[in-house]
Symmetry: C2
């Protein structure tokens, strides 16, 4: 979840990209009305069962802030625990925890103080603020939808504006707002020109009011500023990855779309530091055969669809820049599908050239399809050496790695020696700038100049700091290659950054897990969340079939075993009917129900298949544990305990 | 971690109480110099091994902000995971997650906006800020220590100031600073009068700058504002507990004492809602026989020491107010000792009457002895109905519970009817205030007035809103009790709040776990952290005894099994000497080391005893898992795998 630059907006904030369905290449799953109804059905269930609710409701709430109630909070904890297992433990990552309160210089170095902004317009009379691009987008969409008499050129223009919206400058957006006569939605008052609004929550640290601080907009900076210590901790060896899970804060101008755009959210970020000369990955072969829906740059630009690629081929064909990036694409794919994201509604979209920062090597977003369109949930970026260099410069602490050679290496080094006397005669006061520009040439440029000087005697040379070119003659500079012995190589590592918006992933998981099925009597639709046991908020319920002391004691003893095994569960001895109990717990996504109907063995029912098996009282807790921990699948359990009765009998 | 009020400071912030050792009743474990040296040795090891480090170090750091490096971060995750198992899962608590960003009205209702302050003084020339009480305390301590010629009355006075420091008003502290001629420590400039500084980080929500917000100083308020939904989620039944683990923020004036006083920290808070008429606890018997070091109010006031009490007796003797409070004392004791806090350096100290808020029923702090003295790490408070009432009033949403009667109950209700005409004649314009004060009387006061009016015909009655008393005559008010049928009882639940400062607990755990032992050659002292396997950051290491392909493959296959079981470990194939490897990992508190010295079985060494056992390659991961999960103790393992060689042989 970072911002990158594009040619038109050199440091543009990377915003949540939700591709309108008319722009996306997948088949439309349903008409818009159907999608809205589906979203509303899911949202109603989620709010009613306290998966999440607007924060501070009794005080009228604050937009963009949500609470996770008990089931939502349990899913969050389960997703984070599995993330830790799947990434941190599997890869021996160095997990750290840094504060949210961050002093200004850190975020100046990262670019957030200057450039972490959205364009805002104000109602000139009431002062109400709006996102400038939202107003323009809403205007275009509404016109296209409702103004059926619109000439086709006009329609084409509006479609073009929608397509390039993210690339428009402040002035361009302002001009379009004026041209189209867009006014404040609530009052129809005129709007101010767009101006940038910084999205960080500002505060001041300490009592004097003199230390400005911000609440971090991402967790990554805490890792970068610790690079030196972490590299030392890792025995001064590359590659290694550091990780951080924590809260991040963005003071959105006008949050909408529920959990997808909020002012405070959980990020899980990995910074994998690697030698830029060697981005191979020793475990790449473990993911190379995965077949993944990918949407490379070429397919996007040429209007094609996302396609299934074998990951190994995507890397060997150069579609994905390097093995390490490819490895993380594979691991992210496995993570998302294991927690319950539908693999057919998950794609990896490559950033277009104009989406990427100038320093970025390659970027892929894991996008998940929801009722809002394709939602960017994980960003996987090869950010080259940008972040470490920025903090090296600002802090004065070198953030570099060394490769010590076993034997000293003989290397050819470029040596550029400007001849001061000649430069002084030719350029007087500009002498220094010309000399610096000559010294700053890279190898290619220098060798080209050497050749040109030798053949032609002089060359034109562009000096950026002067804003013009000058004529360099053969006697003004000596360019040569010299052999030197080097004992080590010192370099700034590249960083490959998978960054997970946990709340967005969970929201998409809600949508992918939700379905309805008819009740036994067929007169109502019952809601079900098909959460995999791994992330389900409650793993099982324990009910005595009838209210009697004996069954209740058995239920309590099963409950104690489940607790001892760390299995979250609900015990219900109220005597509600079996059907009602199932309906209630299906709606919470509880995968297993244990009904105590004898004192020696019990019935275990699986939520989606409604299969029922019989397990002895002393084994049932460990059966539920195995299948909740992901050690076994339900199908494995059925091998040992055959189906006793199935859903149709329920 | 809350603030309470005392008679002199009606809403005083409850500060970190670190009892200077000369005030505490336990035996002094070592001289101050020894304590400082011990603390320094622990801190050096912790920083060197990246358990924690000052945040933003490359930018010069910010006081009161710390990063947890990889081992510290792993301990934090393990402590939180066990907290969830021990409290949330065991008690079926409703865990929720609320944002840190909090709008002002919520914190106005809770009292934080007005009263969450520390007294500050400013250097009148440079503007540097200091905690007023710190300066006074430092002055007294230094004088007492260094001014050996001080008259005994003067010494007694300074000791008295130290003893009552927390109860002094702003004016009293200001007067003492003037009287003693205390100046700014760095410049010797004069100081301003003390004035309150609010400790919340302030910000503004949304782009308009019109919605003031704060970063929460505790997680509890998020639970209180959700009471209505949580009560509904719990089937409208009491008692139930809600819990929240998350970051909290306090803009300390001048943080010192490392991890013990920081500006951002992890709190884990429980709000147990209970019927005020029934604070019994069904599971109290499970903790009743615990023998715990307790320091009741009576013992403190009379200058006695903390004593061992059996928890059941402490409750039945009324030392602890009720079973629910007692139950949590027992559960907190178990939690802390299971993660590795030394039971002999853990005490439960009851708040003195003047420490408690006026609304609090009873409060006990779990205090852990460290090199800084006794540190408050967990507060366990019966806060009565205060918080829910405050939010009910401010928000206008009733936060109450109902008890429905099976049969309607006949109840006697107090009826107070002021006689308006007579009051008007007697009190003219004050009539309304007198009438309201009469109606607001509680049952005792009303029945006493009724008796007095009947016997004497008139009584003096204090009217707070008038600031004086008036004479009430028999004809001015009718007081009676009437019988009514009621179908339910509506009441505000009491809340019992155990609140854990996780960072402080972890810091104390570091100190309690640290020891040194001589190296094999006896010429140096090696550092060890004796973390229990449950919380140890890394559970085991895997080393091939010698560098060869076969052992390396065995080591890798053990590593894969450990990863699959979720066991954090380090694999080291560098060929460093066994002694050095042990020294390095003992210092990280790694409890088990697996040395691969054959391809069929391996040696497992336990950190503290240095016992070594032999286990077959295919069983070793599950052995380490059992003992890391807390399912088995090392002693249990020794029953199955007898000691092969012990420390002396190492």
């Amino acid at each position: 979840m970072r911002f990158t630059s594009s040619p038109t907006q050199p440091f543009r904030l990377r915003r949540l990209l939700i591709h309108s369905l008319h722009l996306c290449s997948m088949a439309q799953p349903a008409a818009e009305a159907g999608r809205d109804a589906f979203r509303q059905a899911v949202a109603n269930t989620l709010e009613r069962r306290l998966f999440y609710t607007p924060s501070f409701k009794i005080y009228g709430g604050v937009t963009g802030l949500y609470d996770y109630g008990p089931p939502g909070s349990a899913i969050m904890a389960n997703v984070i625990a599995f993330w830790r297992q799947h990434f941190v433990l599997e890869e021996n990552m160095l997990e750290i925890i840094c504060p949210s309160v961050t002093p200004k210089p850190v975020l100046e170095a990262s670019g957030h103080v200057d450039k972490f902004t959205d364009l805002m317009v104000k109602d000139e009379k009431t002062g109400t603020c709006y996102r400038a691009d939202h107003l323009l987008k809403d205007y275009c969409n509404e016109k296209l939808e409702k103004d059926l008499a619109m000439p086709s050129e006009k329609a084409a223009e509006l479609k073009h504006v929608l397509a390039v919206l993210d690339d428009l400058s402040s002035d361009q957006i302002g001009a379009k707002i004026k041209e189209y006569g867009i006014t404040a939605p609530d009052t129809k008052n005129p709007l101010s020109d767009p101006y940038p609004f910084n999205l960080m929550f500002q505060t001041s640290i300490g009592p004097s009011g003199l230390i400005p601080g911000f609440f971090r907009p991402e967790t990554a900076q805490g890792i970068f500023v610790n690079f030196k210590d972490l590299y030392y901790y890792n025995g001064n060896k590359l590659p290694f990855a550091a990780a951080q899970i924590g809260q991040a804060f963005r003071n959105e101008i006008s949050p909408r779309q529920g959990l997808l755009r909020v002012r405070e959210f959980t990020l899980a970020e990995i910074e994998h530091f690697v030698d830029p000369q060697n981005k191979s990955h020793p475990k790449f072969s473990e993911v190379a055969t995965l077949e993944i829906l990918m949407f490379p740059r070429k397919e996007q630009v040429s209007g094609q669809s996302a396609k299934i690629f074998q990951l190994g081929e995507a890397v060997s064909n150069g579609i994905v820049d390097n093995e390490t990036l490819g490895y993380f694409i594979g691991r992210v794919y496995l993570f998302l599908t294991l927690i319950g994201i539908d693999q057919h509604r998950l794609r990896f979209r490559q950033h277009l050239e104009n989406e990427m920062a100038h320093y970025a090597q390659d970027c892929w977003d894991a996008e998940i399809e929801s009722s809002y369109g394709w939602v960017e949930c994980v960003g996987i970026a090869d950010r080259s050496a940008y972040d470490l260099r920025a903090h090296s410069e600002k802090s004065g602490t070198l953030l570099v790695a060394q490769e010590k050679y076993l034997k000293p290496k003989e290397v050819e080094k470029l040596v550029i020696t400007p001849v001061k006397k000649e430069l002084g005669l030719a350029f007087k006061g500009n002498q220094k700038m010309v000399a610096e520009a000559l010294e700053a040439m890279n190898e290619n440029a220098a060798m080209e100049m050497k050749a040109d000087l030798e053949s032609k005697g002089e060359v034109e040379f562009q000096i950026c700091t002067l804003g013009r070119s000058v004529t360099i003659k053969k006697n003004m500079v000596s360019i040569s290659k010299e052999k030197k012995k080097e004992h080590q190589r010192v370099f700034t590592p590249s960083v490959i950054e998978p960054s997970f918006g946990i709340g967005r992933i969970i929201y998409c998981l809600f949508e992918h897990s939700f379905y309805t099925r008819p009740s036994k009597t067929g007169d109502e639709h019952l809601n079900v969340f098909r959460f995999p046991p791994l992330v389900a908020p409650i793993k099982c319920t324990v009910f005595p079939l009838v209210q009697n002391e004996e069954y209740e004691q058995v239920a309590k003893s099963i409950s104690r075993s489940l607790t001892a095994s760390g299995i979250s569960h609900k015990i219900d001895t109220t005597g509600t009917s079996i059907g009602k109990r199932y309906a209630r717990t299906d709606e919470l996504g509880v995968p297993f129900a244990i009904t105590v109907d004898s004192s020696s063995s019990v019935t275990v029912r699986e939520r989606d298949s409604k299969d029922q098996i019989r397990v002895s009282v002393d084994k049932v807790a460990s059966v539920v544990k195995e299948v909740s921990d992901g050690q076994k699948m339900w199908a494995d359990i059925l091998q040992i305990y055959p189906v006793h009765s199935s859903g149709s009998a329920e």
